[in-house]
Each structure stands twice: as structure tokens, then as C-alpha cells.
């Protein structure tokens, strides 16, 4: 990790790859940024996604992909440096500010993001969104959590199951 892929870094800085969302929108983005995705990394290392062709992502729509790439572009330099060692306190504070603002979004977008982070295997993004979701539901009862995240109302069967579990464990929060 001490020598942050000098050879690849040179290629990556100049190299762009094209990603195609489920609704056929094409995004051109630096290979280094797209490589934050474990799923894409190998394809890109293999020379895919460059030139005229693109990498289709049939399970990510364009709105989500733009958001995902916004994250990747911001985090790519830090990831290339192997994270913290070279980063100054200012850089880290800036990233933190970006992250806080980045997840300050509606829960439906959060859902799309966590799914995309899962499918594209972007660990940092998954962790960031998971933290946000966790903060949203902290200290809430099961029903409050369902309301916060926009679950459909529980069916009578589900409701009975929830009640049974609460009784079984000997506690009820509500």
C-alpha cells in the first residue's frame, strides 16, 4: 500500500471509462473513480469500459448512478492514497462534510443508493448509507422504524408475528 500503484495510477489518471445505466444513459468517468466498485474494478483492469464501448449496469438507474459516481469521484483521490496516511486534517474534514451532505437525502434515494452500493460492491458507500439509515432509526420502536423507512403497513399476519416475538422475548418497547 506504501507505493500507491504507480503504473496503474499513471494510466488511471488519464484513462476514462464509460458506464451505461439501466435507462441507457452513458456516464464517462475516470477509471480510478469507477474502480472504487469492486464489481467494476476487474473489468476496468482488464481494459473494459474504454473507447466506444461502455460497461452496462442494468440494475442501476441513471439518477442513482450519478449520485454513486459523485461519491466515487470525491473519494477516489483518498482511496488512491490508501486512505488516511497522506491526507491532511483539512482533507479529511472536507470529506466528512461532503459525506454528511451527501446522505442528507430522502429515504427512497437512500434505498436506491444502498442497493447500488451492494450491487457494485462499493464498501465505503455501503457503510456511509448504512450509518445514515442506522442514525435515522436509532432509538425508535419497530413500528416507528417501519414508518420512517416507508414500509407498507404490516399485514395482520405480520403484526401478529411481531407481537408474538415481543412477548416471547419478554419485552415490548411500545
Amino acid at each position: 500500500m506504501a507505493a500507491p500503484e504507480s503504473g496503474d495510477g499513471n494510466n488511471g489518471a488519464a484513462r476514462m471509462v464509460t458506464l451505461i445505466s439501466s435507462d441507457n444513459t452513458r456516464f464517462e468517468v475516470e477509471a480510478a473513480a469507477a474502480s472504487l466498485s469492486q464489481t467494476l474494478q476487474l473489468t476496468i483492469l482488464d481494459g473494459g469500459g474504454g473507447g466506444g464501448d461502455g460497461i452496462p449496469l442494468p440494475n442501476v438507474d441513471s439518477a442513482t448512478l450519478s449520485k454513486v459516481l459523485e461519491y466515487c469521484i470525491k473519494h477516489a483521490p483518498a482511496a488512491a492514497n490508501g486512505g488516511a496516511p497522506n491526507a491532511t486534517a483539512v482533507d479529511r474534514a472536507e470529506l466528512e462534510r461532503f459525506d454528511n451532505e451527501f446522505v442528507n437525502i430522502d429515504q427512497s434515494v437512500l434505498y436506491s443508493l444502498i442497493m447500488a452500493a451492494h450491487n457494485l460492491e462499493i464498501e465505503g458507500l455501503q457503510s456511509l448509507v448504512a450509518k445514515k439509515v442506522a442514525d435515522m432509526i436509532k432509538g425508535k420502536s419497530p413500528m416507528e422504524i417501519r414508518r420512517t423507512l416507508g414500509f407498507p403497513d404490516p399485514t395482520p399476519e405480520e403484526q401478529a408475528e411481531m407481537n408474538a416475538h415481543m412477548l416471547e422475548y419478554g419485552w415490548a418497547y411500545e
Partner: protein, 431 residues
Amino acid sequence: MSSSATACRRGAAERAPPAPRSQAFERASDPKAALRLPPPPVFARKLGRAPHLAPPNPSLPEPLARVPMLPAPASFSSSLRRCPLFGGRDEGARNWATLPRDAITAVLRKLDHVEILIGLGQVCRSWRRAARDYPALWRRIDLRGHAHLNYRVDLCEMAWVAIRRAKGQCEAFWAEHAANDGVLQFLGNQAPSLKSLRLISCQDILKFEKEIKKFPLLEELEISLFTNIGGKNVFEQVGKACPELKHFRFNQYCFINMRDSKGFKDDDALGIASMHGLLSLQLFGNKLSNKGLMAVLDNCPHLESLDMRHCFNIIMDNKLRARFARIKTLRLPNDSTDDYQYPVCSSLGVLGIESCSDDYGDDYSDDYSDDCSDDYAYCWPDYIMDSDDYDDYCDPFRYLDGVYESELNVEDRMFLKGFRMLMKDSDDDDY
């Protein structure tokens, strides 16, 4: 990643089916071959819902959607927002209950165990299963920080559930108000390889010396704040049962100095002296004296960290200072408590409720009262520590004027019964 590592990865890629760039376009037209890695199950499910994922504006001519959009990376999100494709989104495709297991796990990992047990883990079947069937999540059980729930939910019951879910893999068990003898016994049976045990304000543990024998691999032990564990015999058992023990914390909620405790001051310390492998020891507010401390220093030759803040019976002298030379991290009785992990409250002796006249005269009263943090204070009882009132307070079988219940006449017993029910009711009102 070093360049050699990159070369390795490339090597790995070459061993995989070759993918020359010239073929990339054909591959791109075949969704199965588009990505190296096979799509996860959820991928397929989402593909099955393709109509939901179609552009929200179906009248948009297909060629327009295909127009390459290559905005500058830094600005593309703002330019994309203007794109008509970004209008409404299909809500039907979104259902948190169908979140893939590892995404649920990512959220679970950001919550503490009590929050999982009372909140997220009850939300729906799939989340409940994710929380239940994932022993790694319960490997280090932490049920601290929810003392306020103590009267609303059964924290000990939660401990049982958590231990069960760890499926024998539990390595650490940290509880605040969430353990009693039963929990400890269950833990002993379920987690023989436990390495860390922290019991904070677990007052219902009365058979500690018996249960501790089940944790021979224990490396870290903490018993803090309100507890019934302590004394030479108990700690000698710990020393015998846990030869691997390296870190021990035994913190009182505050330093209490009682006149009649003179003979027992070093009771804890003499037991701790049997934990020969200790590297670190924290004794907050313990009543040990120089004698007990010397016993610990003599018998724990590897000790390199010692915290004895608020142990006001220790008197610094040259003999002691010489012994401290080998201790790397040392906190003396009246050092700052700013970084102490629990609320700090004034020492009872310092408050003048009980000023002892032995060993240490009155020279500490001014020095130490400044130390006491104002941030938090437990409520002070308005009884005198070694008075009869205090005995009554301590002994649940004595009421009124120090009379045992069995000694009361029928009328008084009835009065007592009614009084208890009244107390119980008002307790219930509070919670």
C-alpha cells in the same frame, strides 16, 4: 496497491477467460457477459422488474436516451439533475424488507445490540432473521449504555437472547444492568472461550466466584459501579480461575470511607494480588491503603498501567514512588478525572459525612473537593454512613426503627404490607 500487486491482479485476470478490448463491444450487448462477476440474486430479481425501472417518461424517444452524455466529471451531477430522465422514480421497486442480507447486516453493524433487539430486529421477518441468524454480529455482545431502559424492558432477557444468537462464538460480553447470576451461568455454558467480561452496575450477581470458573481464557475483566462482587476470597478465585487475565478494572461509583472499614480496607487489593499476570489495573475510588497496593505491586510483576484515581487512602511516600518506577502509565489518587469513563462524584468522606481521623488527617479535604466533577452526581443519601439508619437502609428485612419484620405484631405487619403496596404503586407511577 503496489505495482506488483497490480501485476498479480492482471495475471489473475489473464487466467480468467480472455477479454480482449476488441470484443468488449460485443460483450456489452450481452448483459450476462457485461460484468465479470455474476450478478447477485437480487440483481436477477430487479431485472425481473424491468418495467418498473424503465425511464419514467416512456414517450422519450429512444435515440435521445442513447445520446452519449459525457459531461465533465465534477459538474455532471448538476447537469444530470436537469435531465428529464431524473423525474419521479418508481416507488414500487423500493421495499426495505427485501434488502439483501449483507446490506441489512451493514445497517445492523452500525447499531448497538440493544437497539437491534428492541428496534430494528423486530421490524419485519427478513430483518429479524438477518439479526438472528448471523452469529458474527453477536460475537462481541455489548449491552451497555441503556441503563434508562432498565425498568421498561428486561435487559437480562436480552442478554439471554444475545448469548443464544452468538451460537457459542461469543468472545466478549459487556453488560450494564443486563446480567444476573442466571445470565452469567448461561454465558459460562455457551461461551467457554470468552476473553472479555465487563459487568457494569450488575447488582444481581451474587455467585460470581462460582461462575467465574467457567471462563478460563478470560483476558479482560471489569466490575464497575454498583456491584455486590468484591473481597479477598472472590478475587482470589478469579486469580486462580483465570490465569490469562491481563486487564482488570474494579471501579467504585465513588470513594466511600467508613470508620469501621479500617480492617477491610485492603480486602479487595489482597485478592487482586493473586492475579499475577496483570498488565493493567484500574481501581477507581477503592479504599485500599499503601499496604494493599504494595501487595499488588509485589505480586503482579508485569503491571505496566495502574490507575488509582480517587483511592484517597493511598499516601504517596518515597517507598511507593520507587515502586512506581516500572509502571509506564500511572494515575495517582488526585489526578484529573477528565478522561475517566464513568461519571465522577464526590467522595463521601470529603463531604464531611464521615471524616476519619486515622492515617491521613484532614489534609485532603481541600485538595480533592476541587477534583469532583459537577457534570454529574448521584443523589446523596441523607443518612449517616455508620448510623443505625444506614443499617436499616442496607438490610431489607429491617424496617422502621431497626425492627425485623418477624418481630412486628399483627397490626404493624398489616401496616407494613399496606405501606409496601403503596410504595410499589408509586414506583410504578414513576416508570
